[in-house]
């Protein structure tokens, strides 16, 4: 008997020992595969980030000419800026104001720019065209705005940082093959030589580009194209999403989770919300174009419409995240509140919701971050237009950051805008990462474990 059991046991042991090796091998294999998958994923992300950083970071610095500009009173002949006269109608005053503005614009600002370099190199007095080619064309408006804001500058000498032309930037930084023959270069030989000379003398330097952050997009003066307009457009849209999608989404999630009766209708609503979350964003764009623009007659290219479309898109994400975090609150909390005589609304708002807040915030922020990066629906409501103004209200025409990336990607001045596009991607990614970091921080701060 005992002998028999013993042999039986040894058979089992032998079998276990045999299979154990197999099982251990299987586990090791799985671990290796898992680790390899993680490493491959990380490698792709790293590759993406490195390639964007390598291409984009240099664009945060650009060729800048530091020169002393003399606001020559013989060139700037300007009447004093009009002030409202007594008894004057606002219309008459604005007419005089406009006349003064156009007089200000008519000043030959280019000549003042050219003179700043000719003062350093008098031998260039006869090649003004080459000197002018150094500066990006919007610098004349930069001087105009300086004088417009402070007419006392006239007659003074001021040292200014002036943005160099995009092709000068490309040339001095070697973003175009410098050994190419003249016929394949963008700049005339004289301008190239002058740029190199100024660089050697320290007049032309690579400086941090403020233009990228303070200017709207520009076509006539590519070197001064910036992200300010797109940033404001995105900001307005995000505000609309935060003030529309988040409260509506949270409210409907609370109702569905805590108050709604369980029946066919709520089931149907639930299925539909899950389906909506999976609808491709371009469909929301078509919907926005058809309803908000054609039917409600809201303006084209306006962040208002973009914000409404993105709110619709974000709504299901917020609802699903909120419901999940409400579900995660243990029922004992509700029972305890109800047992102590709280009403259902009190139980939800005083006890359940505060515990669910970290999940709700995470869901909302991830929804907003998703909306921030969305491009496709915006193309259909006219937000892919060229806008040279910084919008001041959600009704003004505007682009958005991801759309600006798309537009710069398509700009014909490839040598300059390839880097600029990557720089815009870096700005957008930084915003996304900070939003996600905020979500993580909020979750950590308010999280409660049971």
């Amino acid at each position: 008997m005992s002998n028999e059991t013993l042999s039986h046991r040894s058979i089992i042991q032998a079998r276990v020992a045999k299979s154990l090796r197999k099982r251990h091998a299987r586990e090791r294999r799985f671990r290796v595969f898992g680790l390899a998958a993680v490493l491959a994923g990380l490698a792709f992300v790293a590759l993406l980030f490195i390639s964007i950083l390598v291409r984009g970071l240099p664009a945060f610095w650009q060729a800048t000419i530091t020169a002393e500009v003399y606001f020559d009173p013989t060139l700037i002949q300007l009447e004093p800026r009009p002030v409202p006269r007594e008894g004057e109608t606002p219309q008459a005053f604005s007419e005089r104001e406009i006349a003064w503005q156009s007089q200000l614009t008519m000043v030959n600002w280019n000549r003042i720019l050219e003179n700043s370099i000719i003062a350093l190199k008098p031998e260039l007095a006869n090649s003004r065209r080459d000197v002018r080619a150094l500066f990006t064309s919007s610098e004349r408006f930069h001087l105009r705005d300086l004088v417009g804001n402070d007419p006392s500058l006239i007659g003074q000498r001021v040292t200014l940082d002036l943005v160099a032309d995009a092709n000068v930037d490309v040339w001095v930084r070697g973003n175009i093959d410098r050994s190419l023959p003249d016929s394949q270069q963008q700049l005339r030989p004289a301008v190239r030589a002058l740029a190199d000379e100024l660089r050697a003398e320290g007049v032309l330097n690579i400086k941090f580009s403020k233009a990228l952050f303070t200017n709207p997009d520009s076509r006539s003066s590519p070197a001064s194209a910036g992200l300010a307009g797109a940033f404001m457009g995105s900001l307005f849209m995000m505000l609309i999403v935060i003030f529309l999608a988040v409260p509506v989404g949270v409210a409907s999630a609370i109702y569905l989770e805590e108050f709604a009766p369980r029946n066919k209708i709520t089931d149907l609503v639930e299925v539909n919300i899950n389906n909506l979350a999976a609808v491709p964003s371009i469909v929301f764009g078509l919907l926005g174009a058809a309803i908000f623009i054609n039917w409600f007659r809201l303006p084209l290219s306006a962040p208002l419409v973009g914000g409404l479309v993105l709110s619709l898109m974000t709504l299901p994400t917020v609802i699903i995240a909120t419901r999940a975090s409400l579900k995660a609150v243990p029922p004992s909390i509700r029972h305890a509140a109800l047992a102590l005589g709280a009403s259902r609304v009190q139980a939800v708002f005083h006890h359940v919701l505060p515990l669910a807040i970290p999940g709700v915030l995470t869901g909302a922020i991830i929804g907003v971050a998703q909306a921030l990066g969305e491009t496709a629906p915006l193309l259909l409501i006219g937000m892919n237009a060229f806008v040279a103004n910084i919008p001041t209200t959600p009704f003004d025409q505007s682009t958005a950051l991801p759309v600006q990336i798309f537009l710069w990607q398509g700009n014909e001045l490839r040598n300059f805008f390839e880097a600029r596009t990557s720089a815009a991607i870096i700005v957008l990614l930084t915003m996304m990462i900070s939003l996600n970091a905020l979500a993580i921080w909020l979750r950590k701060k308010f999280e409660r474990r049971w």
Binding site: S94, I98, Q101, S102, T105, S137, F141, I176, D177, L180, S183, Q184, Q185, Q186, S218, R219, S220, S221, I240, F243, L244, V246, P247, V248, V250, A251, I293, N294, F296, R297, L298, P299, L300, S301, L304, F349, L353, G382, N384, A385, F386, V387, A388, N389, F395, D396, Q397, Q409, G410, N411, E412, L413, R414, N415
Partner: protein, 342 residues
């Protein structure tokens, strides 16, 4: 409590939007259309905004000539565009659909010319093309020994011994681009007329034979803009692409241009008509919006100003072939007389 306040705020904001929206009148000119015209129109828009402090800078969208005109013909009102940019003339069908939507006063403004060039990668062989070469490389059926046969050519050197020994890959604009029409009219059609067996066909069959392109993947149609064409050339080194002259000029370090009938495309040869593949550029103004959208008439007149779009202007620097003085006078006079397209 905080959540209640937020909900209240959101409802208030939504209500405000709903009330404010219908009362909105637009005070910024809205433009859309051809991606060839877009750089020119954007430059003018920016300069216009800077020159006239009382008007906003116009907003310029793309979408191709056809897309722009479709938006243009959606109707009259602040939510429709004021100007459609086009790299081809408006079609009769489009005038009709405009009219049925209430857009009756379509003002056509021609402001310059654009050349269409064939370009290949700067590090590959140089092309000296003729329309018949392009046709023979691109058509579905070509003439061989006096008969029409399915296109057998796989390398340019087979088409003509003077061409580089490179695989035939031709990157052309898709039909949403006005450039496609010019490509067909100015290159393919004259190219196929060079072959007797096609000339003998009746008119319909001839038209079909001229414009039927091969479907074996050697013709790549691009619906996006020229950067996409350039990206194709970077991926497929042998490819030859169709570009606008202005795009080529800005990317001369990467592209080399092909001659057509021995003429190198440039501002001069296109302006004089020596280079055969060019087309006029237009924009269409909605007459109903003049006087309603502030600055619309001023924008058009500013655009036609010699200092803006003439010789030596920023637009010429950006690659536009300007109108001559007489054409400019005519365009301006026609606009001032509000002469509508019939």
């Amino acid at each position: 409590m905080r959540i209640k306040q937020t909900v209240g705020l959101a409802i208030a904001a939504a209500a405000m939007t709903a009330i404010a929206a219908p009362a909105m009148a637009r005070d910024t000119i809205q433009i859309a259309g051809s991606s060839t015209v877009l750089p020119f129109a954007s430059i003018v828009a920016e300069e216009f905004g800077n020159a006239f402090s009382q008007f906003n800078t116009p907003v310029v969208g793309s979408g191709g000539s056809s897309g722009g005109l479709r938006q243009f013909c959606q109707g009259v009102g602040a939510n429709t565009i004021d100007i459609a940019n086009a790299s081809r003339a408006i079609r009769d069908g489009e005038v009709e659909s405009c009219a049925s939507a209430g857009v009756k006063q379509i003002l056509e403004v021609q402001f310059g010319y654009d050349g269409i060039v064939f370009a290949s990668r700067a590090d590959k062989g140089a092309f000296k093309l003729e329309p018949k070469h392009v046709f023979a490389a691109a058509a579905a059926q070509v003439e061989r020994d006096g008969k029409l046969v399915a296109n057998p050519y796989t390398r340019w050197s087979q088409v003509d011994s003077s061409l580089p020994n490179q695989e035939i890959i031709l990157v052309i604009p898709a039909s949403n681009h006005g450039t496609r029409e010019v490509f067909e009219e100015r290159v393919l059609t004259p190219g196929c007329q060079a072959f007797d067996s096609i000339k003998k066909l009746d008119k319909d069959a001839q038209g079909k034979a001229c414009l039927d392109l091969r479907q074996d993947g050697r013709i790549i149609e691009i619906a996006g803009d020229y950067t996409e064409t350039l990206a194709r050339l970077q991926a497929q080194a042998d490819a030859v692409g169709v570009f606008g002259l202005s795009f080529y000029e800005q990317n001369r370090d990467r592209l080399q241009v092909a001659t057509m009938n021995g003429v190198t495309p440039s501002l001069e040869t296109i302006g004089s008509g020596e280079y055969p593949v060019s087309r006029p550029l237009f924009f269409y103004v909605k007459g109903e919006h003049i006087g309603v959208i502030p600055g619309l008439a001023q924008y058009v007149e500013y655009f036609l100003n010699e200092q803006v779009s003439g010789f030596g202007s920023p637009l010429e620097e950006a690659g536009l072939i300007p109108l001559n003085d007489e054409e400019r006078e005519q365009a301006l006079a026609a606009f001032k007389a509000r002469k509508a397209v019939k």
